[in-house]
């Protein structure tokens, strides 16, 4: 208790501390906004509640980190992560490759099984203490070929969208929650197996701007990340407003049946929306790895916060999403400052409950008005 009052007092004695907290919170919030906007798109257009959102973010982070480990410039990671995640998300869905795989699904399954066997054979050979240690090079090749083959067949069959999401759109709402939760678990564990459970980061060694005698620090790297997040958000807004696909997405969100009647291929719109969401998450992940750190299991907080933001802001309301995202970033920082850093996760979840309850109370009042 005393500690909490002490922390509160600090806020009033040094007003600059408030400024520091708000700036930090807004910077964190900027990345949440990207993830939350992706969720709002998928939720609004397809009515799919994607609990794998956080896992996609971390996957994007690992793509960027992997490239940087192999000597690529750090900033290249952002577009590459977005593209790879879009492919996983379902960018190939509806293309001739996907149609081929669907027509010859037996071939696809046999290929996938064969690639799994090849990959496991490779992993078995390279495992520590294996009797086949002499053939480690061969094993590694096998593992790589199997992994790439599996990834290829996943992408060719329409990615996550074609395999799973397209089958849950029309279903009971609970289905999409559980299915994406399962996808999230698989992604986390695969990343754990591929990259290990250490935290990874690509800190850019730029300076920080300091104000008020060092109380307010603005690291240039974070500033850069915020600018890139903002640029990405603006690009998406323009895309949604101007391009034909953006218009089709908005039309489908308003009334899928009417859109179908008017000749919009809603299947393609759904596939595109999901892969756009995955790409946004991937880019967000590539930004996360620049300013904080990632690890396979760090995804859940992003999913939770995306849900908080979208429930608070509503669907298809980008200004609302931006405001809510930054607001939640700031509130979390305040909460962490006042109650201690251990409560940060709890605060995000409690905010979600608070938002749900407030909306519930509003609905109850509306119902009473109707009566």
């Amino acid at each position: 208790m005393d500690q909490i009052f002490g922390n509160l007092q600090l806020l009033f004695e040094f007003p600059a501390v408030n400024l520091e907290i708000i700036i930090q919170g807004a910077m964190i919030g900027a990345i949440f906004v990207l993830v939350a906007y992706g969720l709002a798109l998928v939720w609004g257009v397809m009515n799919v509640k994607n609990l794998a959102q956080g896992a996609l973010v971390i996957a994007g982070g690992y793509v960027s980190w992997w490239l940087a480990q192999r000597g690529m410039p750090v900033l290249v990671g952002i577009p590459v992560a977005a593209i790879v995640l879009a492919l996983i998300g379902g960018a190939c869905s509806g293309t001739p490759i996907d149609k081929f795989c669907r027509r010859h699904w037996r071939v696809a399954i046999v290929f996938a099984v064969a690639m799994t066997v090849v990959m496991f054979a490779g992993l078995y050979t390279t495992a520590p203490g294996s009797a086949w240690a002499a053939y480690e090079g061969v094993g590694r090749t096998f593992g790589t070929i199997g992994g790439i083959g599996l990834f290829g067949i996943l992408v060719a069959c329409g990615g996550l969208y074609g395999l799973v999401i397209s089958r849950v759109i029309e279903r009971d709402l609970f289905t999409s929650l559980l299915a994406t939760f399962g996808i999230g678990i698989m992604f986390e564990q695969l990343m754990n197996l591929m990259f290990g459970s250490d935290t990874q980061s690509l800190r850019l060694d730029y300076d920080s701007f300091s104000f008020f005698g060092g109380i307010v620090n603005v690291p240039v790297a974070k500033l850069l990340a915020v600018i890139m997040a903002a640029a990405l958000a603006i690009a998406v807004i323009i895309f949604m407003k101007r391009s034909r696909m953006g218009q089709a997405i908005r039309a489908t969100a308003q009334d899928a049946r009417a859109a179908r009647v008017l000749g919009i291929d809603t299947e393609r719109v759904y596939a595109f929306t999901f892969s756009l969401n995955a790409a946004l998450c991937g880019a967000a992940g590539a930004l996360v790895v620049l300013v904080w750190e990632i690890m396979p299991f760090y995804g859940i907080p992003y999913s939770v916060r995306a849900f908080v933001i979208v429930t608070a802001a509503g669907l298809g309301n980008l200004p609302g999403v931006i405001a809510a995202g930054i607001g939640i970033g700031v509130m979390e920082q305040y909460g962490g400052h006042i109650f201690g850093i251990g409560y940060q996760q709890a605060i995000a979840v409690l905010l979600l409950l608070l938002v749900l309850l407030i909306r519930l109370a509003q609905q109850r009042r509306n119902r009473q008005v109707l009566q």
Binding site: K49, V164, R167, V168, R171, D172, L173, F174, T175, S176, L177, L178, A179, F181, G182, I183, G184, I185, M186, F187, E188, Q189, L190, N192, L193, I300, V304, F307, T311, G340, G342, Y343, Q345, A346, V349, L350, L352, L353, L356, L357, L360, Q363, R364
Partner: protein
């Protein structure tokens, strides 16, 4: 007459198997107890999820809360809780046999009652939420509770609580906990079998099928929902209390409020077996347990990937579960008569 005779014989065989199983397979006692725990949580999840249509992802909250309440009550009968959980205190605490067993009995009952009451309160807050919002809201409750408890030093914070060990022989302890869980499981099953055939069962099924219509027919839906959830919570709380004493040591995030383990497992069990049926959760729990044990043994390292794949495949391709699948394939087994004409017309569509 022979039908009921057969039924009695099969129930007696089943009861004998339940009683003899840990004696026949002594190596699997702990695993079998874990299976009973899965059956209990799956059955209670189905009370609200399958029968009432409210898919909670937060039933694990009651499991964790049951653990903590049982531990705190059990300890407080003998010692001061703050001293006991203070890791730096270095005190040595001995429990006599009488203290151990009264602690467990009182603790379990207290856990059940506490969970039932907290379900009433939480339900009053959350039952206005429908569909996925209810699932997200309850999931939020479970995650938040885990985070808050892990910051609460009075109950041991992130380190959790270490409870006394079973006072007699360790193998006997395993047997003892097996029978505790089995007894609770059978009790829950019998309770569900009775409940679903009463007016109450009909009412919660009506809520699942159409809540507005049920309300219009004069069913006080909120009251029914609260009672159903608090009954489920009572049993989960007691199961959590047993687990606390069985595991000896538990900590908040991975054991007590294990949202992504047991919290999801129970849902998967029910979906595997078939939602909204009496035997579905039991069969699903058995299937899931076998799958889990096999992957945990033979695919170590890949077990979670296999589990995620199982969840996705079950949910997307096989959502009716085994019982649902049988129901559509062999409706006569369930006493459903199919009008030949209607079935043909439906098939032709």
């Amino acid at each position: 007459m022979t039908g009921t005779g057969n039924k009695i014989v099969s129930y007696i065989t089943l009861a004998l198997f339940i009683i003899l199983a840990p004696l026949l397979f002594p190596d699997y006692r702990t695993s079998l107890a874990a299976l009973w725990l899965l059956i209990i949580v799956a059955l209670t999840w189905d009370m609200t999820g399958g029968q009432m249509g409210y898919n909670s992802l937060g039933n694990i909250f009651f499991y964790g809360t049951g653990m903590y309440v049982a531990a705190v009550v059990g300890i407080s009968l003998a010692y001061d809780v703050a001293d006991y959980t203070n890791a730096a205190g270095g005190g040595i605490y001995k429990f006599t046999d009488a203290q151990y067993f009264t602690g467990m009995l009182v603790g379990s009952l207290a856990a059940g009652l506490f969970c039932a009451v907290s379900a009433l309160i939480l339900g009053w807050l959350l039952f206005g939420l429908r569909g996925p919002y209810f699932a997200i809201g309850t999931l939020g409750v479970a995650i938040a509770a885990g985070e808050l408890v892990s910051n609460w030093d009075w109950v041991g914070g992130g380190q959790g609580i270490a409870l006394p060990v079973y006072p007699y022989d360790l193998d006997q302890g395993k047997l003892f906990f097996y029978y505790l869980f089995a007894g609770l499981g059978v009790a829950v099953f019998a309770f569900c079998a009775w409940l679903y055939n009463t007016r109450f069962g009909a009412a919660i099924n009506a809520i699942r099928d159409d809540e507005e219509k049920a309300e219009a027919m004069g069913i006080h839906t909120l009251r029914y929902k609260l009672i159903a959830w608090s009954m489920a919570a009572f049993f989960v709380g007691v199961a959590g209390a047993f687990s606390a004493f069985q595991l000896i040591h538990f900590e908040p995030l991975e054991t007590a409020y294990q949202t992504i383990n047991l919290g999801i497992f129970m849902v998967v069990c029910v979906l595997l077996g078939g939602k909204g049926t009496l035997w579905g959760p039991v069969i699903g729990a058995i299937m899931f347990h076998v799958f889990k044990e096999v992957t945990w043994t033979y695919f170590l390292g890949w077990q979670w990937v296999a589990l995620g794949a199982l969840i996705v495949v079950t949910v997307v391709y096989f959502q009716d579960g085994l019982m649902g699948w049988l129901k559509t394939r062999r409706p006569e087994w369930f006493g459903i008569r199919v009008e030949q004409k209607a079935a043909i017309a439906e098939a032709a569509e």
